[in-house]
Symmetry: C3
Subunit: 143 residues, 3 copies
């Protein structure tokens, strides 16, 4: 239970981080007047605002990258917690992933110089691959 | 078990709702002859049908929004069910999310007047944020 | 436990398969010099490489389709495992999904002739819908 609860703590913070990117995207759409749907543009000044904006697209890429990486972590972390790792080692996996994904979002939204974002992405993948390998070793007999 | 089963019921209905959007997208691609891949266009009349269509893009946005919101709910709802909430309160969270996401899909696919879709999105986020906060409070000691 | 472990085995392999598509996308971006972000293009030769590439877009569609299908499987398979199915029947569901999704990725990345990819997609949906129906029947009393 301590390992699973530790996982849940960082996992829920990351879900809230994802929600935050969605809120930012919505605010940028309103401020830049760049709407994906004609019905939204009509409500906010006219069909000419049914258009793309580079910073909105950047927010969307940050969000999509979160879907690609944080959502699998929600699964891997939960199952890994059930395989009986030590709390210290498990927390290290979760904290590295958490910090690397927060840095990834900051690097994306602030357009930090390359390769900051790529390094954050890679750093976050390391604990995920480590958990995946440990899970596979513990269930391989049931394949 | 009753709270978790109640969660699973609405969660699986929402997964089926997501699958339905994928099926609709495929049908619209066939009807409008607008294919994302040249090999699909070749099979259905020629490379000129390797093109975008506004309604196909609308279906894809509805689907992506589901990924951004329903998939985190699958995690939050499962963990929240394990924190021992009352069945009445928990069911209220699940039903609000379920109804709001069904309305969101209808508002998207039928292009209902703004801000119907945005209100449905926000209404669905309320139980999610509520569950996230309650989960964090119950596991914060294990951070 | 055997059914859940069997599920976890194929689920983790599919997560690794998704990660592989992300790695391939990154390699193709470097080889084709087609970057989604100006800061990446600047690091790799200049802003003229901030551009789209058809094969990069193909990789991204393959990845997005995985998010739409493999992520819900991670949920459905876990819950289905808890409903007490026979190991033989359950493993058949997982293996069909696994093989169909591997074929789907190959069909996408190699641009195999239509309708190979669509058939793989449909074959993978069959065990998912089967699991969804069985789950709904086992929890319907708690709705």
């Amino acid at each position: 239970v301590p390992v699973f609860s530790c996982f849940v703590f960082y996992a829920v913070l990351l879900v809230i981080k994802m929600y935050t990117i969605a809120v930012i995207t919505g605010q940028v759409r309103l401020r830049k007047k760049a709407f994906a749907n004609p019905e939204d543009a009509l409500r906010h000044g006219g069909l000419q605002f049914h258009r793309e904006d580079p910073y909105v697209e950047r927010c969307r890429r940050a969000h999509l990258n979160d879907l690609e990486n944080i959502l699998p972590f929600l699964f891997l972390g939960a199952v890994y917690s059930l395989t009986g790792p030590s709390l210290t080692v498990a927390r290290f996996h979760f904290v590295v992933f958490f910090l690397a994904r927060v840095l990834h979002s900051l690097a994306y939204l602030l357009a930090l110089q390359a390769p900051t974002r790529s390094l954050a992405y890679t750093a976050a993948q390391v604990p995920c691959v480590s958990m995946a390998v440990q899970i596979l070793m513990s269930v391989a007999a049931y394949a």
